[in-house]
């Protein structure tokens, strides 16, 4: 390895799909790379752009309003679909949140109107039970292996996994659908989730996992230099305590 490693991240629809402060995740990845001498180059990929996703190490897609999500959904399938689906199939590291998670799954049935096709990377499908149905809103604590993921969810659609593995198991909150206890989805190196918050700053181990996966895919198998996570862990534990879950 020559010089400091460099990773490229494609930030999809940064203005259209940034409803719930999901940009905090990009900030978190940038900082945690930078603190280790890794340069994270962030390319904003907007409507109509058709980049070659093989050139990227990471891709990020956040949540948007219904109207904006529809615009993004059409654009995603028309101008980015094939290249992105292909790259995800080849292990492109991806974090997709809320609306972004729904778009990368098989289908989305909105509150009113026809079912919309998704990209189909996640083996999961989403149904909005109708305009009168309560939204899933609130703080979430979910168990992932031996640790926790915490965040805030706000979604109308209910997602059911049809083949992908769940990301985590809900302890407090609704997660994918409020019924089966699943939160999010994993397919190859792509992670879908309903957690805003922003998600990554309060879940630094998960942020580091994404960075490690991206490096590994480049053939850089290094143990990331440790970072003092006192402030991150304190925020996560405070929320766990508030939710009555022991950290």
């Amino acid at each position: 390895m020559n010089g400091s490693p460099k990773l490229r991240l494609a930030y999809l629809y940064p203005r259209l799909m940034n409803l719930y402060s999901d940009a905090g995740n990009i900030l978190c990845l940038t900082k945690r790379c930078g603190w280790r001498g890794i340069e994270l180059v962030v390319d904003e990929v907007d409507l109509k752009a058709s980049p070659d996703f093989r050139n990227y190490d990471l891709v990020f897609l956040g949540g948007g309003e219904d109207r904006q999500q529809t615009i993004a959904a059409n654009d995603l399938l028309e101008t980015k679909g094939d290249s992105l689906l292909d790259a995800l199939g080849n292990g492109l590291v991806c974090l997709a949140i809320c609306g972004g998670y729904q778009l990368l799954a098989e289908s989305y049935k909105p509150a009113t109107g026809e079912q919309l096709p998704g990209l189909g990377h996640f083996k999961a499908s989403t149904v909005h039970p109708g305009p009168g149905a309560p939204r899933c809103v609130g703080n979430v604590a979910a168990r992932r292996d031996n640790s926790w993921l915490v965040g805030f969810e706000n979604h109308g659609g209910r997602t059911t996994l049809t083949g992908s593995r769940p990301l985590a198991s809900v302890a407090v909150g609704s997660g994918n659908n409020g019924k089966d206890g699943n939160e999010g989805a994993i397919e190859n190196n792509a992670f879908g989730t309903y957690l805003h918050g922003s998600l990554l700053p309060k879940n630094p181990d998960f942020a580091d996992e994404l960075i490690s996966l991206a490096l590994l895919r480049r053939g850089i198998d290094i143990k990331l230099a440790p970072i003092d996570n006192t402030v991150e862990v304190r925020a996560r534990n405070a929320l766990l305590a508030k939710l009555g879950v022991a950290s």
């Binding site: 259209l16 918050g197 922003s198 309060k202």
Partner: protein, 486 residues
């Protein structure tokens, strides 16, 4: 308390007076008296009680106001804008019945109206009164079904408490539906610089009066930005969803815009404002309307207050106050509670700012960042119902603007730890002190630990602001808020 009232109610029932309305007013007065005994603010309970008894009480009472009503709604600045309108109306010789800050749902308006009403169901001296009601975004359609305003002022729409209000487009749609049901003698006063708000003119059955800020002159005014922040909301055409072209942006998505596809663009304004200076203390604004021009100082900080002043002057003009009278009144105004308030506490100059969403917070950061950076900075983040349970907005707010701060930083509120985390990622290398939970404790500690005579700047979400203010009020440094408004 109700005993001696019953015979009177019987008599009223025999007359043409609505006995349910009378009972609602009596009950509201009783609730208000009970609140006073309990030393609570009591801004919503009386209204809640009266609405239970007579669901139409707001319509029945507001309809009596001889000079009509002005309703003010928008995400940011409605309390300050309303306070400025009240000053301008009074300068124009009008008597104003104004709901108190923090009670901007239907029940708060009911509290205001019943307080000024007699048992016969009459608003006292109604013929000479103008109603002035600031209204919560979500509550606006319901309030407009009860209060038919002479003037409806809509200031801006920013993302705010998505867990409570839902999405912006939904709010705008509900507003549009409510506006279409208004009579043609209601004048809409709209911010021309906010695309979504300006587009509500399409729904207006009556006249529309647009106000806007056409230019920012001078280095202190802050050069207008060309690239909208990621947190900016209305960057797409409200008519055809094409990306808007902005030629100038004051902040967030407020500015000069045009749709390249359908031709929708910033409308011609009836009140034009030019900002000549704008800093942490004040602004100098030139207002022009109908060939009349007036230049005045505004003793409120920041670009957002220039917009509040523009909205207030526009509303006052439509309500019949001449431009020079309105601008003069506003230049003497000191704003509203919890918004850029100032107190001297044991020799410390303490300033209190409300922050509640990314756009408003960014403007406050710009204002305080331009001030004394040696001050102790207190950031209070809470997630009670009135604050919004979702605190993720702090990741959209540009805390980076505060990183050049040199004084000590203290984080408090129910989510103090999250604020400290946000500061770490904003690039603040120092560890901020975290005092979670009791806001009063955090404020007292900040004031006590500030160096002799050093200023303290407090930025707080809604409930944290109330708690911080209560600490200052207990020391006699600011008035208790339910007494600040008459």
């Amino acid at each position: 308390m109700l005993e001696p009232v019953i015979p009177r109610l019987r008599r009223l029932a025999a007359s043409r007076i609505n006995p349910r309305l009378s009972l609602a007013i009596v009950a509201a007065h009783a609730a208000s008296a009970a609140s006073a005994i309990l030393r609570r603010g009591g801004t919503s309970l009386p209204g809640l009680v009266s609405l239970r008894i007579e669901p139409d009480c707001v319509r029945l009472l507001a309809g009596q106001l001889g000079d009509g009503s002005i309703v003010v709604a928008g995400t940011n600045g409605k309390t300050t804008t309303s306070a400025l309108i009240a000053d301008a109306l009074r300068a124009g010789g009008k008597r104003v019945l104004h709901n108190r800050a923090g009670s901007n749902m239907a029940r708060g308006i009911a509290t205001t109206l019943t307080r000024e009403s007699g048992i016969a169901g009459n608003v006292k001296a109604a013929s000479r009164l103008t109603g002035l009601f600031e209204v919560d975004e979500a509550a606006l359609p319901g309030v407009l079904a009860q209060v038919t305003p002479q003037v409806l002022v809509l200031t801006n729409l920013f993302r705010d408490q998505l867990d409570r209000y839902g999405e912006l487009a939904t709010t705008a749609e509900r507003w549009g539906e409510a506006i279409r049901r208004l009579p043609s003698n209601t004048t809409l006063v709209l911010n021309a610089d906010d695309p979504l708000v300006a587009s509500l003119a399409d729904s207006a059955p009556g006249a529309v009066y647009h106000y806007g800020i056409s230019s920012w002159i001078g280095a202190q005014a802050g050069s207008s930005l060309l690239k909208p922040a990621l947190s900016a909301d209305s960057l797409y055409c409200p008519r055809c969803a094409t990306g808007l072209d902005f030629s100038a942006i004051a902040y967030a998505h407020l500015g000069q815009y045009a749709c390249p596809s359908c031709g929708f663009s910033r409308p011609v304004t009836q009140l034009d404002v030019v900002v000549r200076e704008c800093d942490v203390e004040s602004s100098v604004l030139t207002y022009s309307s109908g060939g009349v021009t007036s230049q005045c100082e505004l003793h409120l900080p920041g670009r957002y207050n220039a917009y509040n002043a523009a909205a207030a002057v526009a509303a006052a003009i439509v309500a019949g106050v001449p431009l020079p009278l309105a601008t003069k009144a506003i230049s003497g105004s000191r704003g509203a509670f919890g918004r850029a308030e100032r107190a001297n506490v044991d020799g410390h100059d303490v300033r209190l700012f409300l922050i509640k969403n990314p756009t408003g917070a960014d403007e406050v950061f710009r204002v305080v960042g331009a001030g004394d950076r040696d001050a102790t900075l207190v950031l209070l983040l809470s997630d009670n119902a009135a604050d919004g349970e979702d605190i993720s907005w702090i990741w959209d707010a540009q805390l980076e603007l505060l990183v050049p701060w040199t004084g000590p930083v203290l984080c408090g509120g129910t989510r103090a730890e999250d604020m400290a985390l946000r500061l770490k990622y904003a690039g603040d290398e120092r560890t901020s002190t975290v005092v979670p939970g009791d806001v009063g404790l955090a404020v007292r500690r900040a004031v006590e630990s500030a160096g002799s005579g050093k200023p303290v700047t407090i930025l707080a979400t809604y409930t944290a602001m109330l708690a911080a203010r209560a600490v200052l009020a207990r020391g006699g440094h600011v008035e208790q808020y339910w007494r600040t408004r008459k």
